[in-house]
């Protein structure tokens, strides 16, 4: 508890120090405080997870509508540890990222919000009172909004910020409804919240949409691909890696108030999971903007998390403890894993962006030679997000798969199991397509435009290297990680309906043995190859392009052409618009091809709805003439009306 | 016996998918004929191997459905010189994937239906529904008139299968009635297609040379 308080204190101090004016700004107080605070938070979270000691604290003073009641149990601790870990590395990275070409003032402001965001995210996970939770939630939304619009002078950034702000507040509105339903007597303390029967189902739906908007579940995800690319990369890493996970945390916390779940909640979660997963990965494939691609992959991975949690809910609703255990463990572990590899990927994208000055994949290429550390780290992240062994993504997806296969072999909830397996298989294959594209086009081959790229400073490469090592370490220590998330999973499956963890331990032991075998074999063959080639002639030459001796970088496959077959296969869903200006005649002058894939939900649903709404809002222009005396008249009229109403009542 | 039935069922379902995914008219006609043979076998199974009236009737009906009607359709195709390509409204891959959905739907629909399966396998009802849906799909989602005839034939197959599923006494009686209707339908459609084609041949510029004769 002390560590946690210390952590919040550091963040607060950091925010204040960074907001100080003038010459104090030369000293990097913001990053330093963020690092210290994150370290303390990480310590607190890990200590709670490893020792199993939960704590609970109610301050003597009270807020207008509730108490300052905080606490840390296994579920909170898991998220606290993840947030702190990613926050720590993102702060170090951000120090380097903003260090070069932004002014000290701007950087300090950014880190002021960064510290506030960190503190509010931790507070969201710690709050044990509905009012405190909502306050922290709102601070989190606002501080991240200010971080998103950091580069507000660039075109499109402000628009992205507004979309984010609207989306998150619509979500918050539903959360308000949820808490009102849960706290029947107006008392919002978590220990006294509860609902049953039809109310429980309504609460579940409100939580699903409210928290799902933050998390990025498929129909509510539209802000994600707008806001994440617009933000500076360390902020994208923090937002995509951990901030959207607070939505998952909120959903799980809400579930814990509701007692025994209904089976259809599980079905809904599985349905949303498949939809988000496939939707996310398909739209990611169609993107040309590296960071937008990564943002869509967050939608995909949130879908995978929802699949795991859905099976967990289903398992505990239908009385299949092994399914429940595997599903919740898989979902929670994927929360951790996605936090790690997605922040790694965003940092890698940030370095690439830093070096080339563009986010367009089709203008990059060949960065591996100039940025070896970034490239290697991005490769690890890309392989991890494709769930390839022996990295961490495989472990969590394996657990979700195992939950689904348990469904099938127990002949319980077979349709959900089938949906999960088919969905994950399709997602896996398409994610591999997407990340070979991202990695291959950006880092491999020849540079597509003139490059002046060089490796980023150590403050940027070391966090990436640390995250990449973590990916490998988690991949090799599956039993330990399953044990780490187990207490949190136990909190979610109420009562004694929980499996003895023997089955999980056996499976995860098998996974890590196989992963270790794989890693060992890779080393073995690499050494063997080295030995075979020793003393032989190893020459360098041109790429053997089927005999063509003057290849140019423009002849390479681009990101668009690489993804074209798959995009074509799903054209009904994607609705990619292509403007082609094909070469004509014997000696064609110029030709061009342009393709653009706008979000389906944005194009078909949110865009038109927003259009209607703003059309309605335009009608109110009549009232808003811009003359002060008119406004004063309105105020007087309003007061008069209230006065009369009061008299009548 | 049971496993033999199962394999016949699976073949039936696969034939439906062949109908959904086929791009050539010939393949479709062939599939419909094959389907009729399988359904004939299914109708015979409960009656054992001893020769009887049922054998004769079912044999005759199967002969009509597997040889005569496809023959009529082929003749119509030949005489109207219709192209082999199917011209679908919805692509073949999409059709096959939709077929999976239709199959799942028919399983879901058949579950609460609780049809007395009359000693036949429990799958018979969903497979019947699926066959009927396939026929409907062919009628709706393909452009050519001749595929509509084929769709009718597939639906007729499924109705007969329903008779088998309900273990109707003298199911061939039902069959005979249905068959008569379909026969008339095929006949009428054949004539209509022929006429439509003849009318429109004159407009088709590719065939203006025919006028020389």
């Amino acid at each position: 508890m002390t560590a946690m308080m210390l952590s919040l204190l550091f963040f607060g101090a950091g925010a204040l120090a960074a907001a100080l004016p003038g010459r104090f700004r030369r000293f990097p107080a913001g990053p330093l405080a963020a690092v210290l605070g994150s370290a303390a938070g990480l310590f607190s979270g890990l200590a709670c997870l490893l020792s199993g000691d939960a704590w609970d604290f109610t301050a003597a003073w009270r807020l207008p509508l509730g108490y300052v009641h905080v606490g840390e149990d296994a579920l909170s601790a898991l998220f606290v540890a993840l947030i702190s870990l990613v926050g720590l590395l993102a702060a170090v990275y951000g120090h380097g990222y903003l260090g070069r070409d932004k002014g000290d003032g701007k950087k300090a402001t950014s880190f002021c919000w960064f510290n506030i965001l960190m503190a509010s995210m931790l507070l969201v996970c710690l709050a044990r009172d509905g009012f405190l939770f909502l306050v922290a939630w709102e601070i989190m939304a606002l501080s991240s909004f200010f971080l998103v619009v950091f580069d507000h002078e660039k075109p499109g950034v402000l628009r992205a910020g507004w979309i984010y702000l609207v989306a998150t507040h619509l979500g918050t509105a539903l959360l308000l409804v949820m808490f009102l339903l849960l706290g029947r007597g107006g008392d919002l303390d978590f220990s006294r919240l509860g609902a049953s029967g039809a109310t429980a189902s309504v609460v579940f739906l409100a939580a699903l949409v409210g928290f799902g908007t933050k998390a990025g579940f498929a129909p509510f995800h539209v802000w994600l691909p707008e806001a994440h690319p617009a933000a500076p990369s360390h902020v994208s890493a923090l937002m995509s890696g951990v901030m959207i996970k607070t939505g998952i945390y909120g959903l799980l916390r809400a579930l814990s108030f509701l007692g025994a779940p209904e089976p259809w909640w599980g079905w809904v979660l599985v349905g949303i999971g498949v939809a988000s997963g496939v939707y996310g990965v398909l739209f990611a494939l169609a993107q040309h903007d590296l960071k937008r691609l990564l943002a869509y992959h967050s939608v995909e991975n949130i879908g995978i998390i929802a699949l795991g949690l859905g099976l967990g809910v289903l398992g505990s609703a239908t009385g299949h403890p092994v399914v429940a255990a595997l599903g919740f463990c898989g979902g929670l572990l994927h929360v951790v894993n996605h936090g790690i590899f997605k922040s790694l990927l965003f940092m890698g994208a940030g370095s690439a962006l830093h070096a080339t000055g563009t986010r367009e994949m089709d203008r990059m290429g060949g960065l591996m030679k100039h940025m070896p550390v970034t490239g290697a780290a991005f490769l690890v992240g890309a392989a991890a997000i494709c769930a390839l062994p022996p990295l961490n993504g495989f472990v969590s997806e394996f657990l979700v798969y195992a939950a689904a296969f348990t469904c099938l072999s127990a002949r319980a909830s077979v349709w959900s199991g089938l949906a999960v397996i088919a969905g994950l298989a399709l997602i896996g294959g398409l994610a591999a397509a997407c990340f070979t594209k991202a990695f291959g086009v950006v880092f491999l081959g020849e540079p597509r435009t003139k490059l002046t790229a060089c490796e980023s400073p150590r403050s940027m490469t070391w966090p990436m290297a640390a995250l990449a090592l973590l990916c490998l370490a988690i991949g090799l220590s599956a039993p330990f990680m399953a044990g780490l998330v187990m207490p949190a999973a136990k909190l979610l499956a109420p009562g004694a309906a929980f499996a003895s963890p023997v089955a999980i331990a056996e499976m995860t032991a098998g996974v890590s043995l196989a992963a270790a075998l794989l890693a060992g074999l890779v080393l073995l063959f690499a050494l063997l190859r080295k030995r075979l080639l020793r003393g032989r002639t190893v020459r360098s030459s041109l790429t053997w392009d089927c005999g063509y001796a003057a290849p140019s970088a423009r002849m390479q496959y681009t990101a668009s052409s690489y993804a074209m077959p798959v995009v074509g296969m799903f054209r009904l869903l994607l609705g990619t618009r292509v403007h082609a200006d094909p070469p004509e005649g014997l000696f064609p002058k110029g030709a061009s091809l342009e393709s653009h894939t706008e979000d389906l939900m944005m194009r078909r649903i949110y865009g038109p709805v927003a259009g209607v709404l703003s059309g309605l809002a335009d009608r109110f222009r009549l009232l808003q003439q811009g003359r002060t005396h008119l406004y004063i008249l309105y105020i007087v009229l309003a007061i008069l009306f209230l006065f009369l109403w009061n008299l009548a009542g | 016996m049971q496993s033999f039935l199962d394999i016949l069922m699976i073949l039936l379902v696969l034939l439906n998918f062949r109908l959904l995914g086929a791009s050539q008219l010939g393949t479709c006609v062939h599939s419909v004929a094959f389907q009729a043979v399988i359904i004939g076998l299914l109708a015979l199974l409960p009656h054992g191997l001893a020769p009887s009236w049922t054998w004769l009737m079912v044999g005759a009906v199967t002969l009509v459905k597997a040889v005569v009607l496809p023959g009529l359709v082929r003749r119509a195709m030949r005489e109207t010189g219709v192209m082999q390509e199917l011209e679908p409204f919805l692509g073949y891959t999409v059709s096959v994937i939709l077929g999976v959905g239709l199959l799942a739907a028919s399983f879901l629909v058949a579950r609460p239906l609780r049809v007395p399966a009359g000693g036949m396998t429990q799958v018979l009802v969903p497979v019947t529904i699926f066959t009927m849906l396939t026929g409907l799909y062919l009628i709706i989602a393909r452009r050519k008139a001749i595929t509509q005839v084929l769709g009718f034939l597939v639906m007729e197959n499924s109705i007969y299968l329903f008779g088998v599923a309900f273990a109707v006494e003298e199911s061939w009686l039902v069959q005979a009635g249905v068959l008569l209707d379909v026969f008339a339908a095929v006949f009428v459609m054949g004539i209509m297609i022929y006429h439509i084609n003849r009318e429109f041949d004159n407009i088709d510029t590719d065939r203006l040379s025919d006028l020389k004769d």
Partner: protein
């Protein structure tokens, strides 16, 4: 323990032999004598003794890829059973590991191809990821059907139960037949055989696998060829285990039956390659979707 090790040993020794069985079958159909039965071994031995040439465009990814490919396919071999012979390292859920370690292999093949910066390699890579995404669905759903049928989900248990059921009883025979048909398509697609890809030519624009490895040479190419042979063995073992249940209740004849099954499979693939032409490229996804549909049907067949 001795028989699983024997199976792995045999796979390591004999997998290139399957490729030459295919080639001999094709030669027989084409009225030729065909290459010597040991030709794949000779090729690999020759390549292992050579030096190599690297493109100046490439990075260490290109150099590391063959080793990773061989390692991942061997890790997959460790969880592959052959009929009643258990795998070396069986655990519940190892079927997911098998699918994803083959995924790792593909990831590096494709990355190495993109590393060369050649348009040909990019084309092959693009097609590979498209087709494999569909094939993976067919593979995993097919395995799910088998898992649902036998109520276990480790490859070793599934295959053991399939063989325990035996060929006569036909318990779930329809399901297994559907899965086997689906896996045959997956096997052909994943091993880049006709009708999906043609392993014989390198330069046509319709090539997939061969065009991706154009730039490799020397020991690297030997690794890749050997890994390809092992991959055929692995997917073939799965297919044989599910489609050819010949149980003898004694490990030695079981192993022999499995090997005969693999030989028979190689001949079958040879016959398919001889009598079929490669599909039009746009038709390949349709074929793979059909394989997926067969897997789904198998699952429906269990669940009804």
């Amino acid at each position: 323990m001795i028989f699983p090790m024997l199976h792995v040993f045999l796979a390591l020794i004999a997998s290139p032999l399957l490729l030459s069985v295919i080639n001999r079958t094709k030669a027989f159909f084409g009225g030729r004598t065909g290459a010597p039965i040991l030709q794949p071994y000779l090729d690999i031995a020759k390549l292992l003794r050579k030096g190599t040439v690297y493109s100046r465009t490439t990075t260490w990814i290109f150099r590391a890829a063959p080793s990773v490919e061989l390692a991942s396919v061997m890790a997959a071999l460790a969880v592959t059973p052959l009929g009643a012979i258990p795998a070396l390292l069986p655990f519940q859920g190892d079927l997911v590991f098998l699918a994803y370690s083959l995924g790792l292999m593909r990831f590096f093949t494709v990355s190495a191809a993109l590393d060369t910066g050649s348009a040909f390699c990019g084309m092959g890579a693009s097609r590979e990821v498209q087709f494999s995404a569909l094939a993976e669905v067919a593979l995993l759903v097919g395995l799910a059907a088998a898992a649902c049928l036998f109520r276990v989900f480790s490859l070793t248990d599934i295959c053991r139960q399939a063989w325990a059921a035996g060929p006569v009883s036909w318990e779930g025979g329809g399901t297994l037949l559907l899965v086997a048909a689906s896996f045959l398509v997956v096997l052909l697609a994943e091993n880049s055989r006709i009708p999906v890809d043609d392993p014989n030519t390198h330069l046509e624009l319709t090539m997939i696998h061969e065009v991706m490895i154009l730039d490799h040479g020397g020991p690297d190419l030997a690794f890749i060829e050997y890994a390809a042979a092992l991959k055929f063995w692995i997917l073939g073992s799965l297919l044989v285990s599910l489609a050819l249940p010949l149980r003898f209740a004694d490990p030695l004849p079981d192993l022999a039956a499995g090997l005969i099954g693999l030989f028979f499979l190689a001949v079958t693939v040879g016959v398919i390659e001889s009598v079929m032409a490669r599909l039009k490229l746009v038709r390949v996804p349709q074929l793979l979707v059909v394989a997926g549909v067969l897997s789904f049907l198998a699952l429906f067949d269990v669940m009804r």
